[in-house]
């Protein structure tokens, strides 16, 4: 590893919280987010030299987190059950989620979307990725990205009909 490349520990120390935020907007669950990031980092730990030598280690890890989220079938199948009632985001440390998520209809409805649609909306609106960049991350075409995003937004619009979303922007 060259001196210009971040060590694993340094990278995690510097970018760990960003990775966790990325995982949290994907999963909508603090514990799943921690688990997801930890699992991806554990897989990359032994070959960190190659990751560090990539053009953007953070982009590499975020892509891995996103893909792992989309393929996280086994964990979901054993730990989650479908429900019509979407739980409120978990509060922690008397944290900000109490303040924000409790009355955030958009956040609650995002949690009901299929994972791919949610991931695409998160990449588009949280990470400000272009459709072409999202397509590269997910390994699908840009037109497929647009289709998934459109379906997700249409669903949200239907679910939020009659709801004042302006509060979500405050």
């Amino acid at each position: 590893m060259s001196s210009s490349q971040p060590s694993f520990d340094a990278f995690v120390a510097a970018r760990g919280s960003a990775l966790l935020r990325h995982a949290y907007v994907l999963t909508g669950d603090r514990h799943l987010a921690e688990d997801l990031v930890q699992e991806v980092l554990a897989h990359l730990y032994r070959r960190w030299d190659k990751v560090a030598a990539s053009t953007s280690p953070e982009a590499y890890v975020k892509t891995s987190v996103t893909r792992q989220f989309l393929s996280w079938r086994r964990r979901r199948s054993s730990a989650e059950r479908p429900t019509d009632a979407v739980p409120e985001p978990r509060a922690a440390h008397g944290d900000l989620s109490d303040t924000f998520a409790g009355d955030d209809a958009v956040w609650r409805q995002l949690a009901t979307l299929p994972r791919r649609q949610r991931a695409i909306l998160a990449l588009r609106f949280y990470d400000d990725q272009s459709d072409a960049q999202i397509a590269e991350i997910l390994g699908i075409s840009a037109s497929a990205v647009r289709a998934h995003a459109s379906r997700g937004i249409t669903t949200l619009r239907e679910q939020l009909a009659g709801t004042d979303v302006s509060g979500a922007m405050s």
Binding site: V12, A33, Q38, S71, R76, R81, A92, W107, L160
Partner: protein, 414 residues
Amino acid sequence: MTHDLDDAIRASLRRNAEAAPTTVDLDGVRDRASAIRRRRLLDTTLAVAATVVVALGVGVLVHGISSNQTLPPPVNPPTATAGPAALPWIAYTNFDANAQPSGADRIQLRINGNDRTVRTVPRGSSLVTVLGWYGPDHRTLVWGEGQTPYLEQLFYTVTVSADGSTLSPVAPLQLRGQALTPGRSFVGADGLLRLWMPDTIGSATSPASVITINDSLDGASAPWRVGPGGAAFATATAIGRVTGDSQLYVSRSPADTVGTLVPVCGSLRAVSVSPDAGVVALGCSNAHAELIDLATLKGTRLPDIPEVTDPGTLLGLWWSPDGHLHATTNPGTATAQTTDAWTLSGGAWTHSTTPGVVTRFFTTGAPTLRLERLTTDGVAADNAGRLIVETNPPVDLGPAGSSVAVRPTGLSAR
């Protein structure tokens, strides 16, 4: 509302992201990395041990399938550049959910970058399967449509002009002027079409004739008679049928109408013949899978697919052209309508983690691979079949398809 909603999503995600955890547990990461390493070592050890046991016990390692040590590495998608004009003709199905009254299957052609519909078949109880390009210059498409309870279909053709611009009328597949009765179809690695035609349509107890249609569609092999039972597989050298009591009989010569009873893992749910036609993979409703060597009729039980424990959760088995075996499964629990994909490698099933879940591979005489795959992990297997032909660049045939056939690009290709 659109921009308001976009802004609301953006604001909601960014605001709620502040509630995310802030610290990665580095010790936990290292512990987990060590556990992964230990597990891989164990898997490797078990795979080697399993290989030795199989080699000693069976004597013949069935094409190296339970160990990838004798297999070439998986092939990568073609890398040669090819412009749109060089793409082969492609036929595929596409389900139109909006067609009245209950949706319709469309047979589509993509030639020189243009799509056209050959046929629209109301869904009802029927399904459409495109089978391949045959006839002189491989310009005649053959497909099956309509299904009896035992999956027999009628077969139809359409012929495309050499320049791809015009189509003949759709016509039933005929041999020497005679339309064929309904049957089951099998297309093997040799690309030839084999039709399993029961004496009594829609009967699981009817004896049947199996014929192989030649490449030019002007003749067929002498009928290979088989006893009563359902069609399991048909190759040039072996035919498998299943009786109502879930027993598999394999015939290996036209003189053997009864076949040899082969013990199988249970009620068959998935059957797939290897690219070299030497091995058949069987998946049972109890989620067990095994390989049958068609030369010796000896079976090799495959490792259980992880976390597939509920009956009826093994959906399909597929071979890739390089000889790797793949499975699609349903976890059978909370995600009852979803599909997982697995690859048998090193003596164990590996869960696919790529966004595009490959579910079905085909070989073809064309200089490209062709395959079906789901682009979304976690959607029902029977209604999510986005088709992508692995040319360079890939050809995306859209969602809701169920089969695809790529025209060989040369007369000698098949």
